[in-house]
Subunit: 306 residues, 2 copies
């Protein structure tokens, strides 16, 4: 099982239904988790699907339509009431900072933990977050207000060691770690093995891209190219292309088209309009263009990579 | 079945649990419904329990702790997206007005319907709402910030007509309506019946009172006296009296005590702390003082009166 995966907490759009909550998801990595978007009720969805507060220190808000951020007030309040004292980093359009401040004043709340706000407008092309083996970057989407796509790339810098070599020469754990970092190896008999003789390149980098909300636009391909998993909105079906254009959303076919042109590994659809009782048409339409398409389901976890 | 009842949508306190949502309830009358408080997720609870938007034109917010108002943004947004064009009256502490305005600006929303804001600070002792046969008034509670109790009184001014008289003299519908309003009746043979000979007084007035959040204080009795049904917070149990005093909440026993001293008909407990997995101790403690106590359950509807 991969240690890079995403749990969908909400895949509805502006109006919730009995089965679709507003946007939110949790991206899990080895020792941490990130939240992307935080629609109303996200904290209840976390309880329902067993998402813990631990190691959740970074929240990204794609844009300021209510179905992507109305849950942030309650989540922050709950962190506070649970006695959190570690910093929470919030990456969002700048206007959210004042709105949260206003709400905290109105409810007479002085947070017990540092809330560190990062304005998406100010980060430009710089990665929002850089870690040993992953990085988070953003890019502009095409919606009715400033909206950001989010890309999480996970890179394992370690070389893969040749199994035949290990079986023959039985290096120690310490030696193996050094070889994975690029060092040569000298056997007990004094034979030198150059690093490139006994290693293979690192595993390919994995990446997850979140695109919601956006109209179809080919200029996104540069950011989506070769992503392992793409979550893309499919608010409408193919009969509603005009409405999608007007509201700057995508149809299922457009989501599949951008996935295909970007050569992604898999496509995960979401942000479904409340009008669909049955989502199978969205899936069929998308799969006719890009067969590796899945319908996201709330509460379900998707591996990013193998 | 009475046409005056309350459906509890959320009876949790500051932190939600798997079974307890933040405060909200719907009071239903013959041709209308009112909402009291609107915690996060209220619109999803409305969907879950089949509460329609129709005839919901008045929302009351008791105070500005998040668990009593974080759902108002999403509910207003959903009304807007559903194309509502009739006025919505919001009765709340004045600071909520600016906060809603701020949120609407941030999310680029111009409401399609008139949102008519009534500051609770400004209404003083005047009823918030007066209708043919009910009225809504507020009174101050004892909490860490300005907080209002809400009382809905339903009065049927119509006299009750004597059934024996109806059977004997067979008055027309029109005559019955006039008698109920206090008119005398003249029979076909010209015999005059004075109104008081053929009627009984109107049914007793019914009233519902909502008290959340508040510390115990006997000065509340004047507002609670003889209420048909009292919803009262019982955030803590009797072992936590000190904490209740510090946080200006009530224990289950204090809720029962004020119900008893106010001679209410029934007491409905709510606003339970998330720490209780089992609520039966709260009930037992309250019933030892005031036997006519019930534990509120989410999604359940309680008759106000017979």
């Amino acid at each position: 099982m991969s240690d890079f995966k995403v749990t969908v907490l909400g895949n509805g759009s502006a109006v919730p239904t009995a089965h679709q909550h507003p946007s939110s998801q949790i991206v899990k990595m080895t020792d941490m988790q990130l939240m992307i978007d935080c629609g109303e009720g996200t904290q209840m969805q976390m309880i329902k699907y067993g998402i813990k507060h631990r190691n959740l220190d970074h929240i990204f808000i794609s844009h300021l339509h209510g179905d992507h951020y109305f849950g942030i007030f309650g989540l922050i309040s709950t962190f506070h009431l649970f006695g959190r004292d570690t910093p929470l980093h919030l990456y969002a359009p700048s206007e959210l900072k004042d709105l949260i401040g206003h709400q905290l004043r109105v409810s007479h709340t002085t947070l017990r933990f540092p809330l560190i706000f990062h304005s998406l407008e100010e980060t430009g092309n710089k990665p929002l977050l850089v870690h040993k083996n992953y990085r988070v970057t953003t890019f502009p989407l095409f919606h009715r207000m400033p909206t950001w796509g989010i890309k999480i790339s996970m890179k394992n810098e370690d070389l893969r060691i040749d199994k035949g070599f290990v079986a023959s020469f039985n290096p120690t754990i310490e030696q193996i770690l050094k070889i994975k970092k690029g060092e040569d190896f000298k056997s007990e008999k004094g034979v030198l093995f150059k690093n490139e003789e006994i290693t293979l390149p690192p595993k390919p980098a994995l990446s997850y891209v979140y695109c919601s909300d956006t109209a179809f636009n080919e200029s996104l391909i540069q950011y989506l190219e070769n992503a392992t998993l793409l979550y893309h909105e499919a608010t409408f079906d193919n009969t509603m292309e005009e409405m999608a254009a007007e509201k700057q959303h995508s149809t299922s076919e457009q989501a599949a088209q951008i996935a295909k042109q970007s050569n992604v590994g898999k496509l995960l659809l979401g942000h479904y309009s409340a009008r669909f009782e049955d989502l199978s048409a969205l899936l069929t339409q998308a799969q006719s263009i890009f067969p590796e398409t899945l319908l996201s389901e709330e509460g379900k976890t998707y591996e990013i990579g193998i």
